[in-house]
Each structure stands twice: as C-alpha cells, then as structure tokens.
C-alpha cells in the first residue's frame, strides 16, 4: 500500500471513531477506580467475629434473601472475599428472565445468615459512566457498535504506526518542534505520544472489542458446551422442588478440589439450566482466578452432572477482561492505566486538531513524502 493509502486509512478510521473513543476514554477514567470509589462511598461490612467462625448453610442464606424480598427470585449468589469478606451477595429479580438492569442485590453475612444491607439500585454518576461506556444506553446494538469503534481504533493505530516511519525520517525520536508553527508542535506530540502508547492502546482497544461480544460468547457457550452437558435432561419438566444448595456447593467443591467457589447460578437463570445449580469455581493464581470453571449440579439430587473447562472463546473473553480494566496489578497499575488513558485523550484531541487545522498542508506534505519515497525507492533499485 502506498503512503497515501495508509494516510487515508489513518484519517478516515480515526475520524469515524474519535468522538466515541473520547467518550470511552472520559467515561473509562472513573471506572478504572470503581472499587476505590465504592469503598469511599461506604459499603456495609460484615461485623468482626472470632477468626475462623464457620459459615452458615447457604440454604439459610438463600432463605434469608427470600424473606427479605419475598416477591423476587434468586438468580445468582456470589462472593468477593477481598472486597466484601464474609459477605454473600445475592442477586434477585422479579423473574429469572428479567433484564440484568432490574436486579437487586441483598448483602448477607455468610456466617450468621443475617441480612446486612439491601442497597437501592444505583442510578448515580458511576452507573451513568458505566452504561455510557458499555452500550451508551442502547443495549446490545450499542455495545456492538462500540466494539466496531474499537476495531476502527485498532486500524487507526496500525496505520498510524506505518505513517510514523516517513514522518520521522528526518527527526530524532521525541523531537517536538515548538519554535515553529503550532501545527508542527502538535504533530510531533501526536507522533511521540501515539508511538509510546501504541501497545497499551492496541491491547485496551482490542480487549474492549472482545468484551462487547460477551453476550454473544455466552450464547454460543450455552448452545455448545452447556447444551452438551445438559443433554440428558432434554425434554424433562423443570423441577418443582429444589434440593439443598449447600449440598450442591459441597458437591462442586469435591468435584473440583483445587479451586474455590466464585458464584452460583440458580436453576433457570442465564448461566445455568432449568435443572441445575451451576457452580462457577476459580483458581488461586492471577490467571486461573480469571478462568472460571462451571460445575453443573443436579438441583434436585445435589449430584454432579458434569464439569468442564471453558472452551477457548470463553477463556479469551475472561482473560481480555483484566487487560481491559487494568484491575489486576493493584492501585499503582490503575494509576498507570489512568495516566495512559489521559495520554490517549491527548493523542485523540491532537489528531482531531491536526485534521481541522491545515488540511491542505498535510495533503501537500503527503505528496512530498510520496515523491521522495518514490525517489528513494528508485535510488535503492539502482
């Protein structure tokens, strides 16, 4: 491809995605620190008790949640030992197939099965940031659209890398020509910041696009591996009376002894079948703690139906999440994430500025470069 083609690729891919990328960078900034912000705004904690106090039966915990919200069903139960020690989070809704936005969380002390809190659904600042960032309040189409913008961002970065070479042929790395026109200064800053952050921007962009496919990935998994595992139950009526949740969790722990329970999807919910508690377990290392493993437990008998490793496409999704969120290396990594996010904003705005200002000048420069490039190429042949 000629320099001109690369330049046009860079220009158009950037122009289309810049406004959305700016929105993503700005809304993403507070989301990097969502855990810290939630901590500051006050979360209910389980009271201190003697070390090693055993947990109550999860059947009692589920019962406490049902009494708290008698009109609702339990869809999920999950545990975040680092963020909420000794707390069982119960996600409830009007029905199994209600929208995820209509969920209510009940926090229950895992040891006493007492309800700690029932925070009202969050519709504040962080909720708006999150919704804008994920799908711009436009559901799956909005999400997939932002995924496309992420792809265009990757195209803009790659074409930008190709263009870096001819632009830097006569300049030392990091040269910022401040004494000349403002346009040259911002071109140099755009090139410097763009090339220094290219790997991070590519990784966060592409993993962001992968995350937009999460609903589709889950649907594929349900139609593929989940369907295989629950094939023996096909056509059977859903159970009327459920067996013990605690026994089901114990069965899962026995079946996968080297991992611990992360969350349980109740029968009929999105991540389960009508006949099973699906217990998702996670490992202890930074990587295996991201790679959930489902164990399907018959909800009537509390016996193991099947447990399998996730297929490659779910693993890709699960591993692309930390690389997008930057939440896997403590607070210092989050601060670095935020700084790189700010640098990306400068790259986006300077790119926009360069396009608005002196469009003709750039055209002229490209023509010159192409001319020179052709001359060098001819010289090289000889």
């Amino acid at each position: 491809m000629s320099i001109r083609t690369w330049y046009l690729t860079h220009k158009w891919s950037s122009l289309v995605c810049t406004a959305f990328l700016l929105m993503l960078c700005i809304t993403g900034l507070p989301l990097i620190f969502h855990e810290e912000i939630e901590q500051l705004s006050g979360v209910v904690e389980a009271p201190a008790m003697a070390e090693g106090t055993p947990n109550a039966s999860m059947d009692a915990v589920a019962e406490a949640a049902r009494q708290q919200r008698p009109q609702d069903v339990i869809r999920f139960m999950f545990w975040e030992q680092d963020e909420h020690p000794n707390v069982t989070l119960v996600s409830m809704a009007k029905s199994m197939d209600a929208s995820p936005d209509d969920s209510n969380i009940v926090l229950i002390d895992s040891r006493t099965a007492k309800v700690l809190d029932e925070p009202p659904p969050d519709h504040g600042f962080m909720y708006v940031m999150l919704k804008l960032h994920i799908d711009m309040f436009a559901g799956l189409p909005g999400m997939l659209f932002l995924g496309l913008m992420g792809l265009l961002f990757a195209v803009a970065i790659i074409s930008g890398i190709v263009l870096y070479h001819p632009f830097m042929r006569r300049l030392d790395f990091g040269t910022v020509r401040r004494e000349k026109q403002a346009r040259l200064k911002w071109l140099d800053i755009h090139n410097l910041l763009g090339v220094a952050t290219l790997v991070w921007a590519l990784v966060v962009g592409i993993t962001g696009t992968i995350n937009t496919l999460s609903q589709i990935v889950i649907m594929v998994w349900q139609a593929d591996q989940m369907a295989e595992m629950i094939a023996p139950y096909k056509g059977l009526p859903p159970p009327v009376k459920l067996g013990s949740l605690q026994d089901s969790i114990d069965t899962a722990k026995q079946a996968v002894p080297d991992m611990h329970v992360s969350f349980v999807a109740f029968p009929g919910s999105m991540f389960s079948s009508p006949h099973h508690y699906t217990v998702f377990l996670k490992g202890n290392t930074p990587v295996t703690s991201r790679l959930l493993r489902p164990a399907l437990i018959d909800a009537q008998t509390a016996k193991l139906t099947d447990t399998r490793e996730m297929p490659w496409y779910v693993k890709t999704l699960l591993l692309s999440q930390p690389l997008h969120f930057g939440d896997y290396g403590g607070l210092p990594l989050k601060i670095i994430w935020a700084l790189l996010d700010l640098v990306t904003i400068v790259v986006l705005v300077s790119g926009l500025y360069l396009w608005i200002k002196r469009r003709q000048h750039t055209e002229q420069r490209i023509a010159d470069l192409e001319h020179k490039h052709a001359a060098t190429a001819r010289g090289g042949v000889r």
């Binding site: 006569r170 790395f173 910022v176 220094a196 290219l198 790997v199 990587v287 290396g329 990594l333």
Partner: protein
Amino acid sequence: MNKRFIDIWGWPIVLSLLTVFGLLSALLGTGIWHWLSWVAMALPLVVMGCYWRKAKVMESSSRRR
C-alpha cells in the same frame, strides 16, 4: 539525512517491549512481578514526560535568545 530503521524504531520498540512485559508480568505473577510491571509500565510515561519537558526548556531558551 535519512535515518536508518533502528534510528527511527529503536525507542518505540523498547517502549513497546516494556509495555508488553509490564502487561503480562502483573497478569502472570505476583509480588515482585507486580513491582516489575509498575516500573516497566511507568517507563514509557517517564520517557514521554522527559521529551515533553525537554522541548519546553528548549522553547523557553530559544525565546530568551
């Protein structure tokens, strides 16, 4: 004067490798690997800051002349 490939790409390659290392070391390791990750990820930011500053100093000194 035209530059050789390594003159143009030396720094970008170093910064890219640092970033790749930093992204993976915090994901695959704990403890010391987190520290190494923070250093490796911070270095490109430091380099950007240095060159931005350098240009500012040069600008003000050329103005004085």
